[in-house]
C-alpha cells in the first residue's frame, strides 16, 4: 500500500527560492526600468549605459540580477518542460542543456560586467 518508491527529489528549497528570487527581480527590475527608460533622456547609448555599469554598486546589482534572473527563468523553464516531458533520457538531455545555458550565460554576463571599464 505504498505510493511509489522514488528517490525524493524534494523541490521545497528551489520552490522557495523561485518565490524569493521573483520578488527580488520584481524590485530590481523596477529600479532598472525606471532608471533606463525614465531617468535617461533621449537615446539609450553606450555612454549612458556605460556610466551606470562602471560603478561598483551597479556592478554588484547587475551581476546579482543577472544570476538571479538566469536562475529564475531557467528553473521556471525547467519546471514547465518537466511537466510535459516524461521520457527519461530526454529529461536528462534537456536538463543538461538548460544547465549549460545557465552556466555559459552566467559566466559570459559576469565577465562582461567585471571586465568592463568605462573610458578604459
Amino acid at each position: 500500500m505504498k505510493y511509489k518508491e522514488t528517490t525524493r527529489s524534494g523541490g521545497a528549497l528551489p520552490w522557495l527560492f523561485q518565490r524569493i528570487s521573483g520578488v527580488y527581480l520584481a524590485i530590481v527590475l523596477f529600479v532598472h526600468v525606471v532608471n533606463l527608460h525614465i531617468l535617461i533622456d533621449g537615446e539609450i547609448g553606450y555612454a549612458a549605459i556605460a556610466e551606470r555599469v562602471a560603478t561598483p554598486l551597479w556592478k554588484t546589482i547587475n551581476i546579482s540580477f543577472l544570476i538571479v534572473a538566469l536562475f529564475h527563468g531557467l528553473y521556471g523553464l525547467w519546471i514547465v518542460l518537466e511537466d510535459y516531458i516524461h521520457i527519461g533520457w530526454l529529461r536528462v538531455l534537456i536538463y543538461g542543456v538548460i544547465a549549460t545555458i545557465a552556466l555559459v550565460f552566467a559566466i559570459f554576463g559576469t565577465l562582461t560586467m567585471i571586465t568592463f571599464q568605462y573610458g578604459g
Partner: protein, 125 residues
Amino acid sequence: MRVIKRYRIHMGTFAWILHRLSGLGLISYLLLHIWVISHLSGGERSFDGIMHSFGSPMFKLMEIGLVGVILFHLFNGLRVTLIDMGVMVEKQKTLFVIAVIIWLGTWFAFSAIMLSKMGLLPFTV
C-alpha cells in the same frame, strides 16, 4: 468521430497559461539581453552598433510590448506568491482582477512615458 477533450478555461487557468507563456518569452529575451549587453566589452562602436540595429521605431514599439509582458509576469507572480503565503486564497479571482488592474495601470504609465520620449505623443509626461 473525434473525441472532444475540452475543459472550460477559468480565470485561474487563464492566469496560469499567460504566466507560463510570458515566462517563456522573458527567458528568451533575457538571453538576448545578456548577449546585447556583452557588446559593452567591445567598446562604444560595437555596443552602439548593436543598439542601433534595435533602434528602429518598430523595435521601440516592441519594447513597450516587452514592458507589458514583464509587468504581467511580475504582478501575476506576486499574486501567486501571495496565494502561496495564504493571502486571499479564497478570493483568488478578485486578486487576479486587482493584479490585472495594477498591471494595465503601470503598463499604461510606462507606455506613455516611453512614447512621449519617442515624441509620439503630442505632450510630454
